[in-house]
Assembly symmetry: C2
Amino acid sequence: MFKDGSARLWAFIFAVYWVSFVTYFILWRSYKHVSNLRAAARSTSDVKPEEFAMLVRDVPVPPPNQTIKDSVDSYFRALHPDTFYKAMVVTDITKADKIFQEIEGHKHKIAHAEAVYAESKIANRPEGTRPTHRTGFLGLIGKKVDTLEYCNEKIKELLPKLEDEQKSTLSEKQQRAAFVFFNSRAAAASASQTLHAQMFDEWTVTEAPEPRAVIWTNLPRKIYDRQTRQTVVYLIVFVTVVFYMIPITAISAVTTLEQLRKKLPFLKVVVDQPLLKTVLQAYLPQIALIVFLALLPTLLVFLSKSEGIPSQSHVVRASSGKYFYFIVFNVFIGYAIGSSLFSALQKVIENPTGIVTTLGSRLPGNATFFLTFVALKFFVGYGLELSRLVPLIIFHLKRKYLCKTEDEVRAAWAPGDLGYNTRVPNDLLIVTLVMCYSVIAPLILPFGVAYFALGWLIAKNQVLRVYVPIYESNGRMWPHMHTRIIAALMIYQATMLGIIGLKRFYYSTILAPLLAISLIFAYTCHTRFYPAFAKTPLEVASQQLKETPNMSTIYTAYIPACLKPEKLEDVEVFEDAQSRTTSRAPSF
Amino acid sequence: MFKDGSARLWAFIFAVYWVSFVTYFILWRSYKHVSNLRAAARSTSDVKPEEFAMLVRDVPVPPPNQTIKDSVDSYFRALHPDTFYKAMVVTDITKADKIFQEIEGHKHKIAHAEAVYAESKIANRPEGTRPTHRTGFLGLIGKKVDTLEYCNEKIKELLPKLEDEQKSTLSEKQQRAAFVFFNSRAAAASASQTLHAQMFDEWTVTEAPEPRAVIWTNLPRKIYDRQTRQTVVYLIVFVTVVFYMIPITAISAVTTLEQLRKKLPFLKVVVDQPLLKTVLQAYLPQIALIVFLALLPTLLVFLSKSEGIPSQSHVVRASSGKYFYFIVFNVFIGYAIGSSLFSALQKVIENPTGIVTTLGSRLPGNATFFLTFVALKFFVGYGLELSRLVPLIIFHLKRKYLCKTEDEVRAAWAPGDLGYNTRVPNDLLIVTLVMCYSVIAPLILPFGVAYFALGWLIAKNQVLRVYVPIYESNGRMWPHMHTRIIAALMIYQATMLGIIGLKRFYYSTILAPLLAISLIFAYTCHTRFYPAFAKTPLEVASQQLKETPNMSTIYTAYIPACLKPEKLEDVEVFEDAQSRTTSRAPSF
């Protein structure tokens, strides 16, 4: 019935369609599910400060006889006469924060020194040794002082300075951004979705980020600044993804052993040993690459932060997206094509159908490598994740040599955040790999299934019992992952088109519509589900609250730590950058 | 200093940059200007019904014991307790409208017959001839009746039927769409921009179109229906643009003279004359083409309406966009490439840089043709436009043979709307032509300048003194034109890249960044100015009104003509599909 081998190719085509449609189904259901979870989480009757607030950026320059605070106040009171509660102008807290951190550092030092002193009293003799340290760089140089006395003195010196700085910050360092508070959740949701100004570059409003996720330094950036930064960052990331081998080669060319030896003479002992020298000489470029790859997530977080994004959770999303494209392009496509991505790009521009053929011809040969890759991730990755071996060793080292007080031990033990910015792209890479090899090397499937089945259990355990989230985005990460899974699916579909096309199988074009279907599917999902992630539906915001919200608590949540007066009753000090409550009684 | 001819090419490159940047400047300023005009027009203190209303579509199926009206009412009263005024559920008016149109037709006939009767009294004898007509198809067959008696009887018959139909329409034919009215402009603006439901396919809200621009039949279409229709329409338009020659060739193949002669024997007299036969045989395909091109705008309006767009002005925008792509692809690129667009597309997919080369090599040869085209438009088009020769002839014919009453004469004289759907794309084609030939055949420039300079004067005159707008969109057309001018600019830049590249001029790639700059410019303009066109800024909506708005007048403006009771005091009859006013007094 079929010509030689064509039955197998038909089965391939059928399998690709089957995998695609199962993926669509799962993606659709997941999006719906996450969307419902998000609605449920957001419509709880707990009072969350961010649901009463709205972030305003690009506040125009006020007329000369007005402060920024006054102009923000009068603008929003006029537009929302019934629901406006108060506004808080963002201030430049760099200096106040520096003093505050210094005081905190001294407090920490005192606690540590006291613990050391108490210990020494027990160990040595009844009076013990008063702990000392040097005031210079890293405590290595400078005058030797008594830690307890010195730090107490410093704190006494700094406290009035902080108070002065707080006052001047609030009155003189107002920035052109503000948080506006409303007396109901529905009013805040509605206001943050409404275009306020006719001019695009004034009074841009968005939903307020959570207080703990706010990146204060990014808030006052103007719209032009933000867009320029974004463009520059995208350019840098594009260049990094495509040409990342160039700087590494350059660096490893410059940092030959000979030059390192000249510049850092203390390395001589190591470098002059013949065995070590040979090894180092051979692996220096690889070491440079490993160091680069280890630093990449941090670099991407830094770059995303530089875009002017107002919240930490958004920064993590942005850098996770960048990292995904980096690993897909360089690990997956880069390895598969086997040449630098740059020359591949050139080929794509000259002959766009060629990339599909190239991928199709190279991919099957690499199946073993990627199979091993997934298996390794499965066997080693989860072991490390569950045992948390590295953090355990670090904790014990810290406890033995550094930690003296209870607080320090607790800080050393703290597992931190889940680390979405590397975890998500790495899992998405596995999705891409498993999908792309699912038909041509089906042995990858059990590993893939096991990876995600076990991963589900382990991640659930780690999330519930180990990691401590530093902010809550209510599933805001999902749309982002969804888009990238579809991108992975489309790479898979294009690859299969190439593989089957290479066999000179006339019907391989039957797969081409799948790419269009994927695009339509992505578009449909986006128009349907995304709005409820980007905005708060009024239905959700209008849910009854369990308790009458305490507006002043909500307001205080947004005061940065360094501006909070020592006693909370002094909140009235903050009057300078805040506005008076509306004369009307708030109506809930 | 320069090699042979390279000075000229450098001048070309410089000119392209110059033209591009001047265009950017003009486009930016125009967008800003139109945006300001729009704000000014929208912030006038006149009461406009559409500014107090919001269109709600995809109303979910109400629980069995509730009507759609009740569910709309309770939903919006709960979410906007202070600002909700009333809701009006859209009803299926097809049947009521049919009866209403019949009555109007009879009324019109009576007026006409009375005028004819009065004339005949003067002309013939004191008693005159009572006008008669036949009741059958087009008044050609059927029983002969006395027009005045017959029509009066019919109206008497139909009026109670209309009243019954009105009642049943309001109570039983409620559709899942509604207009919601608010008691202030700011509340309506804010509500129409706020996401209401968590589920994407329920309670979708948009700003209300003007009452006279509403397309009632499109309002109740569900979101799935709308998107499917849109996809299908886009597909049809794409196929029409790319393959439009195929059906025309097919039609002209089928309709050879011989076959026409067989099927329509009465054409024999014409067809059998040898001279006419030769001419017709030669030009039949061209005639088919002309007929197709003449019908195209109507077809595109029909297609755009089928998408499920809720307002007339949006339909005109949508069909104008489709028409632009049709004429640019077929008149400009089609003529320049000189082959069917389909084979050109194939080339583009195989070798995307090839299109630039092809355009570059073919374009200069066609300069004369397009120069003549622009000149012809200039000399003939404006003459026809100003003199309105064709409408004038039609008017005089109508007045002589058809019009009897004052109303009929007025209707015959009415100049109608400006006809944006063909005027805008045609002018944009001239923009494209003038830009593309500006450097290689600069003689086109004076014609282009003259075309638009004179066009400005003439269009201003025609708009102010001749045409009567049937709706007001406050400059909503501009963003649409802006995008297409940038598309034209990019065609120009790509063409110039091709033309200079063909001369084997090494530096021609200097032009490539212009394409990226155009894209960035388009994106920037869109993010900056478009929001104030798509949404009403709260600043604008919060302007004080001259007078206290009469909410019931605003409400009545949205009642379709066929549902309006004969006497306006009977508005209370409409209670079935409307909701009662909120108990609170409206606050402005």
